[in-house]
Symmetry: C2
Subunit: 326 residues, 2 copies
């Protein structure tokens, strides 16, 4: 049988591992959250996340510089660790390198990884290389947390849903690249930058946790609705989003106005934003020390996924990236 | 510039990471040994290794069942952790899956990984999947060690060089598969088994360490001479191998006799054996509790790499697998 859905495949893999594999009492959080979490001693927790990026699926050489490709691959993992309240520490890089791939470009990929790693306190500590037919980048990232661990599963009805920064720019940046409209590339450098070189919220997560004590958290990698569904499924709840409250950049508004598009669609569906999406019982409008805005965008409810727009409540149609969806 | 040698590329990457990346005082062993090692608290050490396997480079569907492919990929990582004296704990699997690849075969790969993981005490704790042009398997494996850590760098002139089990079978098994000689496949199932499904020495490493207190250790993944050179380079020493003492199986002797080949070449060059190669000041012939033989095969010397055969001492010609070598 051919693979129809990534989620279905992951569920089958998860069941196989659970049924046939051995369990471990010190594995605090197995497959299913942003990272796996285990006890390392001294009451400390270790976190590991891994992400595979493959050319033509995850990136295109004509859209992104190799430095940007390395930067983004590293940042996606840093974002996963931050989304559980952890601190990223050690990265392990596996590269599959095609024939005739210039050595300089391999080093540019590493340069971009280091650009992302350094401010987040990450040391590249190991890896592996091989020949391959297409460029493959896999990063495994180890992080640490004390006893503070924020899962996807802690949301309760009544909690407020918050998101950091503004959302939607990454998808708009990709649209501009796909359209090939050079004038847009010049007019909206911020949208392209967010697509090529998004910055995860590792610098804000400590302050955010202090202010909001999040009941659940995830980073936006698939898209706001899709990632919010992960929280809802793990927490056994539903959600209700106020479309008018979604924080979008002036650049996205302006681009959507010119192209006659609805910016709400971008805000709800754009992936690889690496913004933090969380729920909290704390009611608060906050701007963090770095200037990062935190916006309330809806509420956790008992069940169902809803969108409120122009005072009309409709079922949310969840789109998200599935590699095997056709 | 195109990539000419994997080692040269790794050296350049290592230099870049050292010059531009941040260092970490709790990173005990950075890039360069079988695993990276870091402090996790309570005086305990964490170890991480990662290996990428790519179809047509590392395995062939017509030579190995998907179960074997998963088994061997997992075992290679378990072998790396054992080679530093650690205990493997949590595995993170990244898969790149081609179009039209059957779901059943993905699950067979996982089945093989679990077959390797269970006896070694490894829990599959996370991962990532993506579409890809060719099958890609990356495993990152986390292990633990107390204060006992065996590096590649501790060998001293005068130490005896030991190897576990018998060596050479894996390369002979591959030769049989490449030759397509069906009668050999039937006659030498053990050679094929060692190529398809080698078992790392995780079950013996504790006893081995107690008896021998190894000054340095590595697992045979590139080939005996090539891996011994890693020890020599890290330790600043040379080595001298007694060709007649190399432990080879009866099957390999018999195969080499029929094919009119020299089994010494197989013993010296065969990779992916996952036997342990170590140096020790302890002089001892041992058979471990599991029945595993440990054989002295030579001595650590001040400098130079030598082979003694028929009482003639010659410079060792080191061959080993380099993905980018042409």
């Amino acid at each position: 049988m051919h693979i129809k859905s990534e989620w279905e495949l992951l569920n089958k893999i998860g069941a196989l591992v659970k049924n046939r594999g051995i369990s471990a009492s010190d594995l605090v959080e197995p497959i299913g959250d942003d990272c796996a979490v285990f006890k390392t001693g001294d009451g400390r927790l270790g976190l590991i996340t891994t992400d595979i990026s493959i050319e033509s699926i995850h990136f295109r050489r004509d859209f992104s510089d190799f430095n940007d490709i390395g930067f983004k691959a590293m940042m996606g993992n840093i974002s996963d660790i931050a989304a559980m309240g952890g601190k990223s520490r050690f990265a392990f890089i596996s590269l599959g390198i095609p024939d005739a791939f210039p050595e300089e470009d391999v080093l540019r990929i590493y340069d971009g990884m280091i650009d992302a790693a350094n401010p987040a306190g990450v040391t590249i500590a190991g890896g592996d290389t091989s020949k391959s037919g297409e460029l493959v980048i896999n990063i495994a990232l180890y992080g640490e947390a004390g006893d503070r661990l924020i899962r996807r599963s802690g949301a309760s009805p009544g909690d407020i849903i918050y998101v950091t920064g503004s959302i939607g720019d990454s998808m708009a940046g990709l649209d501009i690249l796909l359209s090939g409209k050079l004038e847009h590339e010049k007019q909206f450098p911020g949208l392209l930058e967010k697509h090529r070189r998004p910055v995860a919220r590792f610098a804000d997560v400590d302050e955010l946790v202090k202010i909001f004590s999040p009941s659940s958290m995830i980073d936006i990698s698939d898209g706001l609705l899709s990632d919010l569904r992960h929280i809802a499924e793990k927490s056994g709840t539903g959600f209700e989003i106020d479309a008018e409250k979604l924080p979008v950049s002036d650049a996205l508004r302006s681009y959507c106005s010119i192209e006659n598009k609805d910016f709400t669609g971008y805000a709800l569906g754009s992936g690889e934003e690496y913004e933090l999406l969380f729920t909290s019982a704390v009611k608060c409008m906050a701007e963090l020390k770095t200037g990062l805005k935190v916006s309330p965008i809806g509420r956790v409810i008992d069940s169902g996924y809803f969108l409120i727009k122009n005072n009309i409540r409709t079922k949310a149609v969840i789109t998200g990236f599935d590699h095997f969806d056709k």
